[in-house]
């Protein structure tokens, strides 16, 4: 048999599933605990390499396997878009597995993780390769359930069962929306494979509804506000390498689902579709970050920051749809490529940051920022690598986060040529929100990094932490290197994305590899250009030169002394700025509006000896205003319907008869 890329990828997935079965049987044995993660890493690396090869080689392959529904079978397809996301899954999975070789040794209950971990990876790969709605939905559900099982791995910790429950409810809701979306996409004849959906152009009156359903379905998995509530609960609850996969990779699979439906299957877009995307994306970006700014739990902070980045990606996709609907091919390609690059970047630095958080967790046993501090002395390698991740996610040049945000800004700056007035007002507002999000991201990660790694240790655990093992550091180094390389050499990456843009929006950006000095000039180079390599070289050279020069001229002497602190240093670490005091100015600026934050200070009357009290109330309006009422409503209805459980057999039979009559009447009237 001629082994194509696609079939090789499917064989790798089968290997992952087999590994999962081995894990289920032998998870308690030492051999399985030692072998599963390295094997996962090898298989994922193979999947990533295959996908990369498929992406660079171009073209598409498809395959029908006699599985699933009879006469339909299971379609699999590997085109440029699928190859890109399969590469993200493969390399992300590889990094997570390498990390887990070290991190998994601290796992208290490996039998709860090992069977599900390879299956989760397999599920994500299958979603990306699916070529019909049935395979897609089954793989999607498989991915959800496997990740749910991993979230529940530590089910005895407080809060985790709630996290698992909310996740399960939201995942089912999302799949329901996707199921309905595919129903509309399938058309009256019910073509469930993507190829016939794609050919069914023109005869789709409810395309807008299908798009909104797809947005809800994939958005609930990716974490669009207000569908994000499960994400900050569930992502931190899982073991850290799984958190990295869920936040960094699984959200990208959801993005893939949306791009597949909106840009590929739905046919030519309407301009107003982009309005929903732009507004949801912009709101998600800013609100996600404001939540992140107030979190004291490091992993939850990272999960909220994922919400922000998903908002940025959806914002870019909205722009791309708007341009595509107006026939502006080059601009659409720019916005689409910016979003795809941001998806790659986010997968890289968010995995890195979650690994770092996991290392801190395994070194100190703490997720609470208020119990950390000074870890840069205890975990020097982790601290240096986390610094790269924090700078990259804050969109600082010359790292990768800046490149994708820069491309998005360039796309926004072309948008005055959009003819629709609503979009003319909306895109600058979205640009302003994006700018605000970029600035807030820096604030958020200065706080997270500063509280965890800088300052003085705030707890005995932080004081005695030990550096983590080589596998964890190796996995983080790989990703940090990725952040730097994509940042200084974005040209080849953008060129690799060109075939995707050509298929999805009909045009691609001009080739970047031929530009002088490896510069990036997505449109004409008098319009805008950026050269990460040059900026990196300039900063490195001028920092090194100034350091050498100053050292040559300056006094060599350096003395260590107690901190100055304006003459009144206090030896107690509690006098440092705490995470919540660091967030206080920003909470005062934004909190009253977004969270209804109220601070109250009660001072005792002069002369009395009572304590002064400070109370802070913060509301989560999405949770209190949307989810709690729905939950209460469901509870109330359930209580009303409860007495249906206690009827006599006669009453049940008449109930069945009534329902039958009602349905038959409906059917007659409908015809």
């Amino acid at each position: 048999m001629n082994l194509s890329v696609l079939s090789a990828a499917i064989w790798s997935i089968v290997a992952l599933l087999a590994l999962s079965a081995c894990g289920a049987v032998a998870a308690r044995t030492r051999l399985a605990q030692v072998l599963i993660y390295p094997l996962c890493a090898a298989i994922c690396a193979a999947i990533g390499a295959l996908a990369l090869w498929g992406l660079l080689r171009g073209g598409s392959e498809s395959l029908v396997l006699p599985l699933g529904v009879p006469w339909i079978g299971s379609h699999f397809r590997l085109d440029a878009l699928a190859a890109l996301f399969l590469a993200i899954v493969g390399f992300g999975g590889c990094a997570a597995s390498v990390y887990a070789i070290g991190y998994g040794r601290h796992e208290a209950a490996p039998a709860r993780v090992l069977p599900f971990y390879p299956a989760f990876l397999a599920g994500m790969s299958l979603v990306v390769l699916a070529g019909d709605a049935f395979t897609f939905l089954v793989s999607w559900e498989f991915m959800s359930v496997m990740s749910w099982a991993l979230v529940m791995a530590h089910h005895k910790e407080p809060g985790n069962t709630l996290a698992g429950y909310v996740y399960l409810v939201m995942a089912s809701f999302g799949t329901l929306a996707l199921l309905l979306a595919f129903g509309l996409l399938a058309g009256p004849e019910g073509h469930y494979d993507f190829a016939s959906m794609r050919d069914l152009v023109g005869a789709r009156p409810l395309a807008g509804v299908a798009l909104m359903l797809a947005l809800v379905g994939t958005g609930s998995k990716a974490g669009l506000v207000p569908l994000h509530v499960w994400l900050p609960l569930a992502h931190p609850a899982a073991p850290s390498h799984v958190s990295a996969l869920m936040s960094g990779i699984m959200t990208k699979v959801a993005i893939y689902g949306f791009i597949r439906i909106a840009f590929d299957l739905l046919g030519p877009p309407q301009w107003w579709w982009s309005v929903a995307l732009l507004s949801a994306g912009a709101v998600t970006a800013v609100v996600g970050l404001l939540y992140a700014l107030l979190q004291d739990d490091l992993k939850r902070l990272l999960a909220y920051s994922t919400v922000e980045n998903i908002g940025i990606i959806f914002l870019g996709l909205g722009l791309a749809l708007a341009f595509k609907a107006n026939g502006m091919g080059e601009a659409a390609a720019l916005a689409l490529v910016a979003s795809l690059l941001h998806a790659i970047n986010h997968a890289t630095f968010k995995s890195l940051l979650f690994f770092g958080a996991g290392s801190v967790l395994s070194a100190t046993g703490e997720r609470d920022l208020a119990a950390m501090g000074g870890l840069i002395h205890r975990l020097p390698f982790t601290a240096a690598l986390m610094l790269v991740g924090a700078a990259a996610i804050s969109a600082l040049p010359p790292l990768n986060g800046f490149v994708s945000e820069w491309l998005l800004f360039q796309a926004i700056l072309i948008s005055p040529s959009l003819p629709q007035w609503l979009l003319k007002f909306l895109t600058p507002a979205a640009g302003a929100m994006l700018a605000l999000a970029a600035a807030l991201a820096a604030a958020c990660f200065v706080r997270a990094y500063g509280m965890a790694f800088l300052g003085r240790p705030r707890s005995p655990a932080a004081e005695t932490a030990r550096e983590v093992d080589g596998f964890q550091i190796g996995a983080m180094s790989m990703l940090a290197l990725g952040c730097l390389l994509i940042g200084i050499l974005p040209g080849p990456v953008l060129d690799a994305l060109a075939p995707i843009a050509r298929v999805l929006v009909g045009q691609a950006l001009p080739a970047q590899s031929g530009q002088p000095w490896l510069m990036l000039a997505p449109l004409a180079d008098h319009r805008s250009s950026y050269d990460g390599l040059m900026v990196f070289a300039f900063i490195a050279v001028s920092a090194a030169a100034s350091a050498l020069l100053v050292r040559a001229v300056a006094a060599k002497a350096m003395r260590r002394a107690p901190a100055w602190d304006c003459g009144f240093p206090d030896p107690r670490p509690a006098t440092q700025y705490s995470p919540s005091s660091f967030a206080q100015p920003l909470r005062r600026v934004f909190g009253a509006l977004v969270f209804g934050a109220r601070e109250r200070v009660e001072m005792p009357a002069p002369g009395t000896t009572g304590p002064a009290r400070f109370t802070l109330r913060i509301h989560d309006f999405v949770w209190e205003g949307l989810y709690l009422p729905i939950a209460a409503g469901v509870g109330r209805i359930a209580e009303r319907l409860n007495h249906l459980q206690f009827l006599t057999i006669r009453q049940y039979l008449s109930l069945v008869f009534g329902a039958l009559v009602l349905l038959l009447t409906l059917l007659t009237v409908w015809r």
Binding site: A391, L396, P416, V446, G450, R551, P585, L586, V589
Partner: protein
């Protein structure tokens, strides 16, 4: 030949910004002192201060990490790169394409990132107060600055500073409301970003009013010198941006004959002088505001920038 002169102009600019930055700070201080009827230190005093700091022994806190020691050089380098790539006396610099206006804003963001981290490194309450207030100010000032960048880019069809200046140099630009709004917004942001009155006080030693000074409180010797130099460069960069974009008089273009470059340099020094005097007068005439009034001040800058963009989006059809 043209290539060599391009390199030469770029090199001259890199050195010129270094040479002039302390002088601008010195002139501002002198003007403020004279307005308060003090004699004030010489305008060359900042150079002497830098030299003195460099020669002194550096004293750092016992628990300072490598980040604390590396940060001054990184801050200085990022600011210097930003200042070297922004047009000062000539547009169309050799390497100006390496970073457009958005990238220059982001480079200043990188400098601030390390500055705020360094403020947290020792674990003192003053460092924390400085850093947390700095990120609050930056979280509003940076978007406002990006709004300014967007407006200028929309006018010029380019985010390149050189192209923007070509447009504002041409007579076609005329008087525009959006440009006026952007100028006001940029000035407000510049005051906040450079820790000037009314947002922060560069001369304060009242602990609770410090922002920038609180962050650098633990620095001494050569590290402090680099930070002070970086701050002076940043002030110079903002003055060059305002002068270059809104008063592009006399600026040389690439390909001009030699005398044009000298005219450009003369005009640049004159613009810096005017800017420094204006800043001194402004700072003397106004009082510092409470920290929690700053968001309103910067929110105003953000809104002005946003309105300017909206005007451009609405008033123009096709780019």
């Amino acid at each position: 030949m043209a290539l060599i002169s391009d390199y030469l102009v770029q090199g001259v600019q890199m050195l010129l910004v270094l040479a002039l930055a302390p002088l601008v700070t010195g002139v501002v201080r002198k003007v403020k002192a004279r307005l308060l009827r003090r004699r004030g230190a010489s305008v060359w005093q900042p150079y002497r201060d830098l030299l003195r700091l460099i020669r002194k022994e550096a004293v750092i806190a016992e628990n300072a990490s490598w980040l604390f020691r590396a940060a001054p050089y990184l801050i200085f380098a990022a600011t210097w790169v930003a200042a070297s790539l922004a047009p000062t006396f000539a547009s169309g610099l050799m390497f100006s394409w390496a970073a457009d206006l958005i990238a220059i804003v982001a480079l200043l963001g990188s400098a601030r990132f390390f500055q705020t981290l360094a403020g947290l490194d020792i674990g003192t309450s003053f460092g924390g107060i400085g850093s947390s207030r700095e990120v609050m100010i930056a979280s509003l000032a940076e978007p406002a600055l990006l709004m300014v960048a967007f407006t200028l880019s929309l006018l010029a069809h380019s985010t390149q500073l050189s192209s923007i200046i070509e447009v504002t140099q041409s007579p076609a630009v005329g008087l525009r409301i959006s440009l006026a709004m952007v100028l006001v917004s940029l000035v407000l942001v510049a005051l906040a970003e450079n820790a000037r009155i009314p947002v922060d006080n560069p001369a304060t030693h009242l602990e609770l009013t410090m922002v920038h000074e609180a962050m650098v409180l633990e620095y001494s010797g050569r590290h402090l010198a680099m930070i002070e130099f970086g701050a002076a460069l940043k002030l110079l960069l903002y003055m060059s941006l305002i002068g270059g974009i809104f008063v592009p008089v006399g600026m040389a273009r690439s390909g001009d004959p030699w005398p044009a470059y000298f005219v450009g340099m003369g005009a640049y020094v004159a613009k810096l002088g005017v800017g420094a005097v204006a800043l001194g007068v402004f700072e003397t005439a106004i009082a510092k505001m409470r920290v929690f009034r700053v968001p309103e001040f910067l929110g105003g800058a953000l809104m002005l920038g946003f309105l300017a963009i909206l005007l451009l989006f609405v008033s123009r059809g096709h780019l």
